[in-house]
């Protein structure tokens, strides 16, 4: 019949079979429900980094209160928060800052962010009250930097609610200077990721804050209310799809302790609205000016390229970091930044929802990225919802590995669908040195497969033994502190930068380490992973190399080179001066 030939009405079966191939598994969260890549065969090589969770022994007992335990009514309870390694007292030992949420219906007494001082013996002391950092609320992200260039790192926390800027008083205490700094918000916002950066190269750290959703409890739908409030037929907390997107903000540091909102004049507000999450600010195209990447949930991620004139242009799509390799939105949460293939350029690793592969992006050095998830053999792991992550050399062999913290957002699902547990393991992909990775799982110690519903994680050397440890946030549990007992331990070097013409923290600097014919780039950033901040000392594993050359690209535009630096130590480099004494590290 001719009429039916005019339009081929795809039958439901045909259409839905195609849709099954590309369907959303989480209806409110973008996931391609993609078939995983075949897992590569094991290399058989030993992995010498072994992780042990020493949180309890270290004194990190307090749980990260975050919403309901057995069920979560609203998405605000589900996303969790980040953590930071920060040397708040400049004694050369990494202290720990752990964010916290609260519960619907009121703040439990134990619900507060916590600052733990490193006792230098493997233990920590909770100094939250003493430091003036006690605060309850739905904290999300943390970024750490010396915004006032006084030599002491400050802390900025984002909240569903009022963000907070804590100025370090240089005496072990902090003061909430949000209002006097001009950062008090006049309307309710959901602050998510944040980054300090010097976008205009005036030596003062500016601040970018991503926002997730425009949310209020009064109008928020409840589980099961509509199709964005169901997951595999089970009523769950709604969103983010179906909820209005957040608006991201850029504040310029006026150099006097205050900030001015320059979102519009900088071109940030012209970008497509999105559910913003982790922010990473670095010079991706190596033109000497800091750019801003925003991982976005269920909407295209954003990459603001610096125009050198106080403005930005958003180019994530054409630069290949906005979408999956099939042009689909993904649930972008965390971002790792590093140089996996040792070509001297900053690559990216983005985490996503279960049923989807991570986004692994190779930088060509000009800020254009190609997806290498499949060629790197990482596309086989799609079981878990992944959050915090880092591209970090965990076994010091000179090749950065990838670590991922995972955890479901729906505690109520596993009762009906045990194949989708709430607590899931961490993932560790070791770099094989040939552009590919393999999962090492429990080869890296018992802490890796231990199941938790994790969120942010930060990388740092809390015991100053020359290998990278990992702090991990666990929902409604104490954090994990994964001590790395790497044995044998190849050579390494840490680099701490101090800006003079550049901002004091050297945020935005890029360091390229040359050793044994290889070169590896790293950036000094105030946030990466998921809403978290790493140890500001850049750690380079060197394998068998006994010396290294270091190129430093300062945020001011200056470039310095250091030759034949001996290894297995921390070097502190001051802009324009050279190697200076370390703080507290003998």
């Amino acid at each position: 019949m001719v009429v039916s030939q005019i339009v081929t009405r795809r039958s439901f079966v045909l259409a839905s079979l195609y849709a099954c191939v590309n369907s959303l598994s989480g209806q409110a969260i973008a996931s391609r429900n993609i078939k995983p890549q075949a897992a590569p065969p094991a290399s058989g090589k030993p992995f010498n980094a072994k992780f042990v969770d020493v949180a309890q022994a270290a004194g990190l007992h307090a749980p990260t209160i975050y919403g309901g335990i057995d069920s979560k009514k609203y998405i605000v309870e589900a996303n969790g928060c980040g953590c930071a390694f920060i040397d708040y007292d400049n004694d050369g030992w990494m202290d720990i800052f752990v964010l916290c949420g609260t519960r619907l219906g009121g703040d439990p007494p134990e619900a507060t962010n916590r600052l733990y001082k490193n006792n230098r013996d493997g233990t920590f002391t909770d100094v939250t009250e003493k430091a003036g950092l006690r605060a309850a609320g739905w904290a999300n992200g943390v970024c750490v930097a010396d915004y006032n260039n006084d030599g002491y790192d400050d802390i900025f926390c984002t909240y569903f609610g009022q963000n907070r800027l804590y100025r370090n008083n240089r005496n072990g205490t902090f003061t909430d200077v949000t209002k006097e700094a001009g950062l008090l918000q006049t309307e309710m916002r959901w602050g998510a990721g944040c980054a300090f950066l010097d976008y205009n190269r005036d030596g003062h750290l500016d601040l970018f804050v991503s926002n997730y959703i425009r949310f209020d409890f009064e109008h928020a739908p409840v589980p099961g209310a509509n199709s964005t409030c169901n997951w595999k037929g089970i009523p769950v907390n709604c969103g983010p799809r179906g909820l209005p997107t957040g608006r991201h903000l850029l504040y310029r540091n006026n150099g006097d302790g205050t900030f001015t909102d320059v979102t519009k004049e900088a071109g940030i507000s012209a970008a497509v609205e999105s559910y913003g999450m982790t922010v990473v600010a670095a010079d991706f195209d190596e033109d000497g000016w800091t750019d801003i990447l925003v991982a976005c949930d269920s909407t295209p991620s954003l990459l603001f390229m610096n125009n050198h004139d106080g403005t930005f242009r958003e180019e994530a799509v054409v630069r290949g970091v906005a979408l999956s390799d099939d042009g689909m939105e993904q649930a972008g949460m965390g971002v790792g930044i590093g140089d996996y293939d040792l070509d001297g350029h900053l690559d990216l690793f983005k985490t996503h929802f279960s049923g989807d592969t991570p986004g692994f992006y190779h930088n060509d050095g000009k800020g254009y990225f190609d997806q290498v998830t499949q060629t790197a053999k990482i596309g086989f792991e799609t079981r878990y919802t992944c959050w915090g992550t880092g591209i970090c050399d965990l076994d010091n062999d000179g090749y950065p590995d990838i670590f991922v913290a995972s955890g479901s957002v729906y505690p109520e699902v596993e009762r009906s669908l045990p194949d989708f547990p709430y607590r899931t393991p961490k993932l560790l992909f070791r770099n094989l040195g040939n552009g590919t990775f393999e999962s090492v799982g429990k080869l890296a110690g018992p802490a890796i497969p231990a199941p938790h519903s994790s969120r942010g994680c930060a990388f740092g050397d809390f015991d100053n033994d020359g290998d990278m440890d990992i702090l991990v946030i666990n929902m409604n549990e104490p954090p994990s502190l994964l001590r790395n007992d790497c044995d044998p331990k190849p050579h390494w070097i840490k680099v701490k930068l101090q800006g003079t013409k550049s901002n004091r923290s050297a945020i935005g600097a890029r360091v390229v380490m040359h050793h044994g014919g290889k070169k590896q780039a790293q950036a000094v950033v105030s946030q990466s992973s998921y809403y978290s901040c790493d140890d500001s000392r850049l750690h380079f594993g060197l394998g068998g190399a006994t010396s290294a050359d270091i190129d430093v690209y300062w945020p001011s535009g200056a470039r310095e080179n250091y030759k034949a630096i001996t290894v297995d130590r921390l070097v502190t480099l001051r802009e324009g001066k050279g190697i200076v004494a370390n703080n507290g590290w003998k």
Binding site: S11, C20, Q37, V317, V318, G327
Partner: protein, 511 residues
């Protein structure tokens, strides 16, 4: 039987005779000869339907002039008048043997063969239009034949050249519109069919055709208006009900769409398509449980429907009820081993549920061995294999590429098969080949975001970057459109009232 150029048999014959006389007189004027008495007598006999006499006269004439194309043509006309098509064709062939460009014989043979809708008529008709480019009847017939063999480009050209002939030819007009739609000239197609409808407002099929085209042009409001007379008349037939459902759903009036569908199901509870349509709407609104419950109703009415089991299985997959899904796919396969989808569905289930694909692909391959000309199966195999990102040089890579190429060879409009090739070429570093496949996909599906995105990524690697800004703009527009559509789909959730078997809607307006 097609109506193009139809005329009744007698009418056709009369036309031929007229043409014959015209041409004969023309040739006489040119050669200063006169039409002889014999020929006059034959023509006269034909005009009076004295076919036997005409045959006798032509036989006599052919003894003297055995190669006369005129006589053979007149003889063919006589046989045709008697209903002896075989002899008529033979006679036309004799005429053309001695005079290949003899127009009346060409016309006669062409029209006679065309009556069978046979492509063998094409050479005759093409010769006619070469000699007489304005012969609208020949163009119309050529258009129809081109439509039949799927060459819409040629069909449209011929239909346009024969436009005047088409006006009163219903089937031909529908064919014309169909081809225009396939060539993405939907507005033009609408105006073609609308003119038919204006002439025949009570033609239900034509009215539905207009509505289908309006839906294709993404004007569901217009489609609803077009269907209104049929809906208002009551006792809506199934085809109209299904179309109206689609129109209302596209117009974001899900409650009305579901109501129409519900009423149709009540009137015709054993119509499988209606339950599948409901499942489609439930799927779109992610109301999978409601879809399952309605399919349960359908299966009680039609317990041996493979399609309903398949549809329910697909919804069970969405609900992560994998055991139930597997059971349904098995049942569908048992009931109808010939249908291709259940193997595919089982494959998808296996890949989604456990990540294992070997068994699912094996089943798909078995199906393909039995149904090697099923383009959809080839396309799905290509998609499944490609999704796992096989490395270039591996057997899986080669198989995926082969499957994708086979799919488009069988059905050039399968955009997903081009997408698969584009991805495979990209993985192999073949930038230009990937670009070509992206463009192929977009030719058939201009809204294919995957192809558009991949094209942008590939063009970045070439020196042809000028195109990129426009492509980025297109992609952004498509994404905005998709976001709007999703917001509309999320407005409604379907539920089934537990107390009755009727369907209820739950409207969930956003604040």
């Amino acid at each position: 039987m097609t109506e193009v150029g139809v005329e009744s048999e007698r009418g056709r014959l009369a036309r031929l005779i007229g043409l014959f006389v015209l041409l004969l007189l023309g040739s006489c004027v040119a050669s200063a000869q006169s039409v002889n008495d014999q020929t006059q007598a034959i023509i006269s006999a034909l005009k009076q339907n004295n076919y036997s006499e005409a045959l006798q006269l032509t036989q006599t004439g052919l003894r003297q002039s055995p190669a006369s194309p005129q006589l053979w043509t007149l003889r063919a006309m006589a046989f045709s008048g008697k209903g002896d098509r075989g002899e008529a064709l033979e006679a036309f062939r004799h005429a053309l043997q001695s005079s290949p460009n003899y127009l009346p014989a060409l016309e006669g043979a062409g029209q006679l063969i065309y009556q069978d809708r046979s492509q063998k008529a094409v050479p005759f008709l093409e010769q006619i239009v070469r000699m007489r480019p304005t012969d609208q009847v020949a163009h119309a017939m050529l258009g129809s034949l081109a439509f039949l063999r799927g060459d819409c480009t040629a069909a449209v050209q011929h239909f346009e050249d024969g436009r005047d002939q088409l006006q009163s030819q219903r089937s031909a007009m529908l064919e014309y519109a169909s081809c225009l739609a396939q060539l993405h000239e939907t507005e033009k197609a609408i105006s073609v069919v609308q003119s038919l409808l204006n002439a025949n407002p009570n033609d239900t099929e034509v009215r539905r055709a207009v509505a289908i085209l309006q839906l294709k042009a993404e004007k569901p409001g217009n489609a609803i208006q077009t269907l209104a007379p049929l809906l208002e008349a009551g006792n809506v037939d199934v085809s109209t009900a299904r179309l109206a459902t689609e129109a209302y759903e596209a117009n974001q009036d899900t409650p009305r769409a579901v109501q129409i569908l519900h009423d149709a199901i009540v009137r015709d509870p054993t119509n499988v398509d209606l339950y599948v349509d409901f499942a489609n709407i439930a799927f779109a609104h992610q109301s999978f449980q409601a879809g399952v419950e309605m399919l349960n109703v359908g299966l009680r009415a039609v317990p041996r429907s493979a399609t309903l089991y398949l549809a329910r299985g697909i919804l069970y997959v969405q609900l992560a009820h994998y055991d139930e899904a597997e059971a349904d796919f098995e049942k569908a396969q048992q009931i109808d081993p010939q249908q291709s989808f259940s193997a595919v569905a089982q494959g998808l289930l296996a890949s989604k549920a456990s990540g294992a694909t070997k068994e699912s692909l094996a089943e798909l391959r078995r199906k393909l061995a039995k149904m090697p000309n099923d383009a959809f199966l080839w396309s799905l195999e290509a998609s499944l294999l490609t999704e796992g990102s096989p490395d270039p040089g591996t057997p899986e890579y080669s198989e995926a590429m082969k499957a994708a190429k086979k799919a488009v060879a069988l059905n050039p409009s399968l955009a997903s098969a081009y997408d698969a090739q584009a991805k495979l070429y990209q993985a192999a570093g073949s930038t230009n080949a990937s670009i070509e496949q992206c463009r192929n996909a977009l030719r058939y599906d201009p809204k294919d975001q995957t192809a558009l995105y991949r094209l942008i990524m590939m063009l970045r690697k070439t020196d042809k970057k000028d195109e990129i800004p426009e492509l980025l703009k297109r992609l952004a527009e498509l994404r905005q459109e998709a976001t709007r559509k999703e917001a509309e789909e999320n407005r409604y959730k379907l539920t089934i009232e537990p107390s009755t078997s009727s369907v209820a809607n739950q409207s969930n307006e956003r604040n």
